[in-house]
Structure formats: C-alpha cells, structure tokens
C-alpha cells in the first residue's frame, strides 16, 4: 500500500506492507536508525517518535496511522550542525550513558516542553514516566529537562 507523510519536514511517499510499524518503516525504509527499539510493548519509550508533536511508541504504532501527518525523529530536531537546546542540555548534564534511550527521551522531553514551557519537577516526572533509562537513575535527565526549559524560554525572549 502507499503511504504519504511529512518526515522531519520533508514529504515522503513510499510503498509498504500493511502490517509494518512506524518503527520498522522509519528504521528500515527511511534511514532513521536514531530511533531505537527495545521492549516492543509500549513500556520503555525508546522508540518514541513525534506524530503531529505528540509522542507515540513507534514499535506498536502502525505506519499507516501516520498518513498525512507530520512525523519527527531525533534526526529531525536541531538545525543541521547546531544542537537543539534539549540536545545541548542532555550533553551538558550527562543525561545519558549508553545512549540507547536518549533519542526517545529527547523527543518525549520536546513534546513536554511544547505543551508546557515551565514544567515543575513533578510535572516532568509525571510526563516522562513512560520513558525508561537503565543507566542514569533519571536525576541527570530531570536536570537536563530543567536546563533545556530555561534555555528555550531565554531563546524565546530574545526573539525579535
């Protein structure tokens, strides 16, 4: 079947099998290997992608559901060489070790900050509870999201 959607700002048209998941399509057909697959049961959040700015678990989301929508992956944030403020904050706060959960974490954080530009710690914890990290113990990620929120608010204020 045919599928058309906007991937990281560009229109994509491709042929696929009806049973293909968004994770399979992005990884195998669209070279978006930054998206990682882990639990395959919507528990870990490693495969998080944004569909119309909302996080979905691409491991169990049929690619066909994305027809006509905007899909954002880790490869699509930041502008070329410059890191997105959330990426920068993750780097500065050592908010990852092995890095396997990181793309999903960053995308979930992006969705959170899109909805709420000044979340409390409790709001961050609540929103991010669907993203697992086995390395860090979460505190550095919480700090990174706090820092990213501040960076993004500053940037917003500086806009002409």
């Amino acid at each position: 079947m045919k599928l058309e959607f906007v991937l990281d700002g560009k229109l994509v048209q491709l042929d696929l099998e009806p049973q293909e998941t968004l994770a399979e399509v992005l990884r195998n057909r669209c070279h978006r290997t930054g998206l990682k697959v882990s639990c395959e049961v919507q528990v870990c959040g490693a495969c998080t992608a944004l569909v119309d700015d909302l996080p979905v678990s691409a491991c169990t989301y049929l690619a066909y559901e994305a027809r006509g929508r905007r899909v954002t992956t880790i490869e699509g944030i930041g502008d070329g060489e410059r890191l997105h403020p959330i990426q920068k904050a993750f780097l500065d706060e050592f908010a990852f070790q092995c890095g396997f959960c990181t793309p999903g974490m960053i995308l979930a954080a992006k969705a959170l900050l899109h909805e709420n530009d000044a979340p409390t710690d409790a709001e961050v914890v609540n929103y991010m509870d669907g993203n697992l990290c086995r390395c860090t113990g979460y505190l550095p990620i919480l700090r990174a999201i706090r820092r990213a929120a501040a960076l993004m608010r500053d940037r917003e204020r500086e806009r002409p």
């Binding site: 500065d92 050592f94 092995c98 890095g99």
Partner: protein
Amino acid sequence: MNGEMSGANASPIGRSDQKMTRKKPGEFHVVNHSVPRQDGVAKVTGRAVFTSDIHLEGMAHAKLLRSPFAHAHILSIDTLKALRQPGVIAVLSGNDLQGIDPYYGHAVKDHPLLAIGKVRFLGEPVAAVVAEDERSAYEALESVHVEYEELPVVLDADSALADGAPLVHETAYRGGGFRGFDDPSSPKPSNICQGIHLEWGDTGAAFPQAAHTIEGEFFFPMAYAYAMEAYVSIADYNDSGLTVYSSAQHPFIVRNDLCKVFGLALNRVRLIVPFIGGGYGSKSYTKIEPLTAACSWKARRPVKLQLSIEEAMLTTRNDDARVRIRTGVDREGRLLALEATIHLNTGAYAENSPLVAKRAANRIIGPYRIPNVKVDCYAVYTNTVPASSFRGFGATQVTFPRESQIDELAERLGCNPVELRQKNLALRGESIHPGLRPLDADVPGDLSMVVEALMDRPLPKDHGRGVGCSASDAGSDPVSSAVVQVYGDGSVSVLTGSTEIGQGSHTVMQQIAAEEMGVAIEKVRVVGSDTAISPFDRSTGASRTTTLMGRAVLEACQEAIAQLRNMAGEVLKTKPENLIIERGGVRFQDQHVRWQDVLRDFFGLSDCSIIGRAYLRKTGDLDLLPVFWEIGCTGVEVAVDTETGRLRLDRLVAVGDVGLAINPAMAEGQDLGAATMGLGVGLSEELVYEGQQLVNGNLLDYRVPRFSDLAPKIDLLLVQNQDGTGPYGAKGGGEGSLNPTPACLANALCSATGARVRRLPLTPERVWQALKERTHKEKNIGR
C-alpha cells in the same frame, strides 16, 4: 585549577614499586574535570551507531526456534519443510554442526550453540532459520518440526541437590581455559557446577565464645539486567575468516571462544564492537555470537541475529541465591566469626557462574575484620535460563544477608548499627582476606560521610533509615594493553580494546591521553574495540577499565614521551638528559619545543606519527589481587505505607570511593546508576517461574525503576584519596553503590517498623505480610 602546574613540580607520593611524581586534585589540566563526553554529540543526535543499526551488503537474517520444555530429549528435528519456505536460505539444528566444535564456554565448555540431543531450559534455542528478511525467517520457524520426550526437571538448587535428582548435564566437560578454573569437572556427575570453600581461623571454636550469635536464611531474587539494547550480532564467515559485529562487553574473550568453535587462528577472527546499548554484566562473555557465526558459516552470507527483549530474558539472568549465614560478636561488639552456605541457582549452563561463586564467597566478608570465617558456595545447575554476570555479581547476593545481620546484631547488643560497623570496619592497609591485597580504602571515613549526609533532619513518622557497606575484589585479571599514536600535526589517537558501554571509558581514555601528551582534549581521538586493530584487553567489566586500561594508556603515553625526548635530543643536537619534559613538549635552553615540532624535524615530514605502547600483566604492584577493592557505602531513608506495605525512597546517599575521579560527573553518574539498580532488585525486580515457565518474561510484567521512583533527595559523594593502583591513584567504580543498597532498604524498613524481611525484593505484598506477622507477634508477646 592551577594552570601552571606541571608534573615536575607536583609533590611525589611514595610508592615502593615505581618512582613517580603524582599530581593532586587542583593540579590537573584535563583529568579530574567533568569534560563533556566524547560520544555525546553522536548520542544526542541519534547518529551513534549500535550493532542493530549496521547493515552489510548481502546480509541475511536469522530467527530462532526455542524449546517449549525445560528438560527433554530431542527425538527428531525435521527442517526440510522450513527450508522450502519462501526466502529461506538455510536452516540449522543441533544435527547440522558437523565440522565445528559446537560447545563454548570460557569457564566450562558446556554450552552448545544450539541444543544437541536434549534441551535444558524452556526457551533454549533448538533451530535457527536464515532468510532474506526477518519476517520470512520468523514465519518459517513454524515449519520446523521437533519431536521431544519430556524429562523430569529440577528448577531450584534444593531439588537439584536432592538424592537421585535428574541430572542437567550427564557428562563432565572440559574447562574453558579460563585462569583459575582449569579443572572445573567434579569426579562424579552431579548438578554442582562449581563448589568453592573458603576458611580461616576456627569458627567451631569461636562461636561458643560469642556473646551473641545470629543465624538466618536470606533469598536474593532472580533478576534481569535489562540492557535496553537486546542481544544482537552480525557475522560474516568467508574465506578470509570470520568478522563479527556484536554488542559484546568482552570482545577478546568472544574472539577466543569463536576461534575454538571454528578452529580458526586468533588473527582470523575479528570482533568489532560498536556502541553498546547497556550491559551491566549481561553482555559480558560469549552469548549469541557462535550461533550467529554458525548461521553465516552455513548460509555463506553475512547474517544478522537480532533478539527481542523477551528473548534476551531467556538468554541471561543473574544467579538467584539462598544464603544461610551465621555471625557472632563478643560482648564489646567485635565480630568474632562468620559462617555461610551459599546456593546459587546457576541455570542450565555454567556461563560465568563459577566465577560468580568464587566472588560470592570472597565478597560475603565485606570490609570487616573477621578472625574466623567458613564459607561454602555452590553454583548449581537447574533447568532454568542460564545465569551469569550481573553488575556487582557475587557481592549483590551476599551483601544483603551480611548487612542485614549486622543490623540484627546491633539490635541484640543494644547499640547503633553505624557504631557497630565503625567498630569492625577494617582500616586502610589492614587485611580483610588472607592472601588478597590489603584494604586500599578508608571505609570508616566513607561511612561517616554517608551518615552525616543522611541524618540531616529529624526522622518523620513511619520513616526509617538504613546503611550498608561492601567490599568487592574488583578488576579481574590485570591484563590490558594500549597503543597511543602521536601525530606530526599535534593530534593523538588512543587504540583501546575497552568497549564503550555507556560507562564513559572512551572519554576517560581521551582525558588521560590529553593530560599526558599535553594537548587539548579535542586533539585526542579514541579508536575502540576492533580486535583486528585494538591491542589485547582482557575484558570490560569488574569495574576494571579506568584502573587498568587507564593505566595502560597513561604508560603508553609515557613510553611515547620517552621516545620523543630521545628524538628531541637528536633534533636539538643535545643529550636527552639535558631536556626537561614539560606539558606538551620539552624545554631546552629556555625554549619550549612542542612534540609535533620534534616529530616534524625528526622525520622531515609533518604527517608522520610514532607509537607508544604499554602492556599490563600480573606483576609488580599488580601481582597482588584484587587489582583494587571496590567499596560500596550507601544510606537510604524510606517512608513505609503501613496500610499497603509500599516503600518509598525519600533519601539516597552514595559514596564513590574512587581514588581519583578522572571525570567527576561521570563517576557520580555511575554511582547513581548502580544505586538505582540496587533499588530495582531491592523493591520490585524479580523473575518469577511457575513450574517450567518464566511467567513475567517481558517488560510489562518485569518492573524496573522508573522516573517516578526518583528519590526527592540524592547525595552523591566522591572520595578521592588517590589510593588505587590506577592512573593518578584512581580506582574503578560503578558496582559499589549497587551492592549494599538492597540491604539499606531492608534495614530502613526494619528501623521504621521493626519488621525484618529476609527475602528480596521488598514488594508491597511481602512488606505488608511482614507487618502483619509483626503485629501478630506483638500480640502474642502481649499475652
């Protein structure tokens, strides 16, 4: 930081075996600073390449058929129908392995890469289908027909050790050539995979002298490391040899196992390890690589074998343990004696459990002086998923019982559990285990720091505090080597066999090389983990990398500098002795000559390079094992919901006694990560068998710590006494803070409620039950 400090000015720290001046915190340029991770940009942009992201030209995919029985003879396997399915290239079973040695295992060669003759656990791979794509391989699995004859099973250590128990393995196997386990086979077949006996003093004479003796039975759960990247490898077997990409912690040990399976020379097997998506011990030693390689060998194509998380849960777990332990103190609270019998449920194959058994016996002592000790530890085969390494192995299983019992003794003595520990903790330089390195840490100091940070407020109602300590013989076998290339343009490469598993080893090596060669950190590139390029390294585990590989990199830099000084002598037409080595070059007659200028003038070219190298082995100050003692010292405050039995972590304090933190932020990150895993097995993580079947073998039912488990207050404290054998006195970290954390939780629960729970994890159900029993007891006493 003192920007002008140089090695020549730093105060010397006396070490008997080698003369060296050693910088102290505040005197380093790059080391001891929280520089950003060298893999950071790749990891936050999604550009970091993991094994699952690699695609080779002509690559086929394998899927596995797994046994539905825990113990059964395989009467027949029919693969012909599967072979005729669309897209299928090859089908392998245990009958198709003629021409190779299908058994592997570094400690005991007992593990067939596919079941041969019988299956020994539910989920064991029985056949592999190789096809053009994953779906075709998966769909063809149902066309493989296997006839089984079920056998009686043994599912726990007790039934495996009972008289007349069915044998998991009928024959004795050859050892895997692993140092320390040269002759693992027992004289008569039994389910004992490895027995370890440890004894000093005379416990028989000591216990009658004890004022108080406590005896108890403790259970440590079967747990799953959950590396978020499941096992994956790609093998390409062709005329020039075997190339394997794998998410393997120990590429050189995997290479050795593959050489033996396929009868290939060491230089014909190449292991390439991309970024690893977590391991925590579960990716140490050989896993699916021999099977993937056999698929490629049969299909004559590159083959990828990607397991799911549910399959990973059927591949490796920790050794669950039952520990019977008895400790005695005198009237003054001095520990007199410790006796323990440890039964490890090792599962169907030995994997690393013989070493787990040895470590468990050593690590039950803890950082204490105990004059009389008797420990028996058995790794026992059962028809369950094979057990192997899991972060802190051996120590996790035994620290919970010992640290629980120290609190029980304190209660019996009517003293504070911290005081009782302080009275018995060994001091630096004291022996805690005859024949092993004396303690190289200030554990009483560590404990004082934990207590000070923990006791920062009056304890609220239904809250309790607990502390715990541990000491692990860490570092494994001290064989590591490193190569440093110094280039004519001022850049430097480090070739290391250490794998970047998230712990930050590549950043640490980068920092050490930048510090030693006197170049900016951006000038150093770390090239990792390709056995065709990287010099030998025993393994990436046992917290050994900073200490051993870090030291190898430092020594390789020093060796390069010695060469460069001689070259400078020739270039500057003077004796090398007249040249003073300073940061990034030499001083000659008030002139600083950079290493890159020396190289350019020496060779007459600017793009040439020289090689510095270092080999570490068990000699000199590394002759005495362990390489270092890894200390765990943590404290917690928990809130207990007495109605539901739910524990909530309110405070966590962890000390990382790391000698010197090469990168303090990463060292703290290791401690918090380790303590969080302790929280997992302490509160929720347990693999549950019902009969032959693992019933919670997925992430829906197996609960690991989540964001919402984050403690509201966390203190991560680093102790930097420069008392290790590693570079600048560094020691490893990353396991310590896991080991005592479950005991801290149990001790805190007891201090809050009086309920002593001897079985982990402390699930709400288990705690609620214990609280109910406590109430019954109180009522009975009241009558």
